[in-house]
């Protein structure tokens, strides 16, 4: 249930510890256009919903292609509503972004593994790029609820791509930003902010989600510094239920044993970064 705060490292995820899954109708109740090509969508599901940070939903929307599309739960609100952060990349995201308020989707979730709260003596340092910030809103909400503070590094091409910056500040996080065009914060990649953040954190626990290049760089720095690091991996998915085997990542299983293709929907999307063989599939998407 509650992610362990005693263990030195995160426990291996067990299906039994995760909230129940359901395929539910969800109604779009509000849309917030965050940038020209990104929206925060607020849904109300027909039944109860319990979600842990890092988990995702497989969403089906009319006109959005045959297969469902995976979206991290961005936030879970007190009244049972949830939000999704959507950036236009294809037919599935486009259909969702064009759905009128009051329109319905089918939402299968919550799916996958979760970000664990760091042990009490470690400071969370979150590194997120673009829509990779999505799962960290709920995570930071949970951190704030436990009286925890952390450092959040946000990166994007331009200022409008630094989504929900203010939400992280409301949760009391130390937010630092980088933009590739220099329109906000550090001029360059978000990973340039990492050394200083790790130093400021003292004893850090890293969390990351975003473009593969960014994840790779964070993983290298984490390994070099001996810092624990959980990463949320994004892969094309067919089912989200562990059956199509389309979303695999070459990694060491949580239970130990040799590397194999693990399902990012079931053994992930949140992995211990050091278990992933980053060089195995150079063109993963």
């Amino acid at each position: 249930m509650t992610p362990s705060t005693e263990a030195a490292g995160p426990p291996a995820p067990s299906r039994a510890d995760l909230p129940p899954r359901a395929d539910q109708a969800a109604t779009l109740v509000a849309r917030n256009q965050l940038s020209p090509d990104a929206q925060l969508l607020r849904f109300e599901s027909e039944g109860p919903l319990r979600v842990l940070p890092g988990q995702f939903a497989m969403v089906r929307v009319g006109g959005g292609g045959l297969l469902r599309r995976p979206y991290s739960y961005c936030d879970l609100l007190d009244d049972g509503a949830f939000t999704l952060l959507v950036k236009e990349v294809g037919v599935g995201t486009r259909a969702l972004m064009n759905l009128p308020v009051g329109g319905e989707v089918s939402s299968l979730g919550p799916l996958g593994t979760t970000f664990d709260l760091p042990p009490p003596d470690l400071t969370p340092v979150i590194v997120a790029g673009g829509v990779g910030i999505a799962p960290f809103v709920l995570f930071c909400r949970r951190l704030a609820q436990s009286g925890r503070r952390g450092i959040v590094l946000l990166g994007g091409r331009r200022r409008p791509d630094l989504y929900l910056w203010d939400a992280f500040e409301r949760f009391g996080m130390d937010v630092r930003v980088a933009s590739e065009d220099g329109s906000a914060g550090h001029h360059g990649l978000v990973t340039a902010l990492l050394d200083a953040a790790l130093a400021d954190a003292g004893r850090p626990f890293l969390y990351s989600c975003g473009p593969t290049g960014m994840l790779l760089r964070v993983a290298e720095l984490a390994t070099a510094a001996g810092v624990p690091h959980q990463v949320s991996i994004e892969r094309r998915m067919g089912c989200g239920m562990g059956c199509c085997l389309g979303c695999v990542v070459w990694a060491r299983p949580p239970s130990g044993g040799p590397e194999e293709y693990l399902r990012s929907c079931t053994e992930g999307p949140v992995f211990d970064a050091e278990t992933i063989a980053w060089d195995r599939d150079p063109h993963p998407l």
Binding site: R21, D23, R60, L66, S106, R236, G238, G242, L245, G246
Partner: protein
């Protein structure tokens, strides 16, 4: 078992000696090892489960990207990533048996000997009711489709499985065979109890911006509603051209789709890709079939098999 329907409606079917409480079977490769969907699918609507294809040893499968969506369909090149027969029997089979479902083991070999060995092992296993023989996977280097395209090879694979087991043997046919009815006749002679079809259709897609194939394996198998009319035609041909019972599949998403297969001669049907899209497909299809039977005053669903009429719908 499936539903407290009125006593006058019998949804059960019999195929390959299996008495199924409903005509709906979960297709191999789309339903894991059987219990993955337990929280979200209506298992009482499921007549049997054909589990993910098994070899003697575990296989890592193809590198990603492995799937790509196409109009009304999907391409996949998973390459039969699987846990191997022993781990299946020790770890996966007990979980699906707890659900009380009829389990069909789907097997694939890279040689005739491997097919035979798998059949012998499964014959001794408790809780497996039939063997579906995959002679039609398009995504593995050896075995698979090369057995399914050649009637002689298909017959030899069937024969070796037949010799290894008393369980019902159901070769799964490839749509790439030039004459599927001929393959069905040959596997019938070799001891098959039924055939299932179709496996996916070899297909590919290209990203024109990068000029690279969408799948790491380049070629994959096409499935989903896009293939359904092709599959219906093939089931019709095989049902007319051989005496074996046919289990039909190809993009079934609802009762009307399932009925097409039944009417052209299928004794049962499998639901595959649509599991990914909508786990509610089981309840919707089952209820729709029951409603159809009542509307058409059919007392036993099995009586619908092969009842397509001549002349056009108009």
């Amino acid at each position: 078992m499936a539903e407290e329907k009125s006593a006058t409606l019998d949804m059960g079917v019999e195929v390959a000696g299996l008495r199924l409480p409903t005509p709906l079977i979960a297709a191999s490769g789309t339903f894991g090892y059987g219990d993955e969907y337990r929280e979200v699918a209506d298992y009482e609507c499921i007549g049997a489960i054909s589990v993910k294809g098994l070899y003697l040893e575990p296989r890592e499968g193809c590198p990603p990207p492995r799937i790509w969506e196409t109009p009304s369909g999907m391409l996949n090149a998973i390459g039969l990533q699987e846990v191997g027969i022993r781990r299946f029997l020790a770890e996966k089979l007990p979980a699906v048996r707890e659900l009380g479902k009829i389990v069909i083991a789907n097997i694939c070999g890279s040689s005739l000997e491997e097919y035979g060995e798998l059949a012998k092992i499964l014959d001794q296993a408790e809780g497996v009711s039939a063997i579906e023989v995959n002679i039609s996977c398009p995504n593995v280097a050896e075995g698979g489709i090369e057995f399914g395209c050649d009637p002689d090879m298909a017959a030899r694979a069937t024969e070796v499985v037949r010799r290894g087991t008393r369980l019902p043997v159901i070769p799964k046919l490839s749509p790439s065979a030039s004459d599927m009815a001929a393959v069905a006749r040959r596997v019938a002679e070799a001891g098959a109890d039924a055939v299932s079809l179709i496996n996916t259709i070899p297909a590919m897609a290209v990203d024109v911006e990068t000029r690279r194939p969408r799948l790491a394996n380049v070629v994959g198998g096409l499935s989903g509603p896009a293939v359904r009319p092709i599959a219906v035609r093939m089931v019709w041909e095989v049902a007319r051209g051989s005496r074996l019972p046919v289990i039909g599949m190809g993009g079934i998403a609802n009762a009307e789709d399932a009925l097409e297969f039944l009417l052209v001669g299928a004794a049962a049907v499998q639901i595959g890709t649509m599991n990914f899209v909508d786990p509610g497909v089981w309840r919707r299809t089952f209820d729709g079939l029951a409603a159809y039977c009542r509307r058409h005053e059919v007392a036993a669903l099995r009586d619908l098999t092969g009842t397509m009429r001549s002349g056009t719908a108009g």
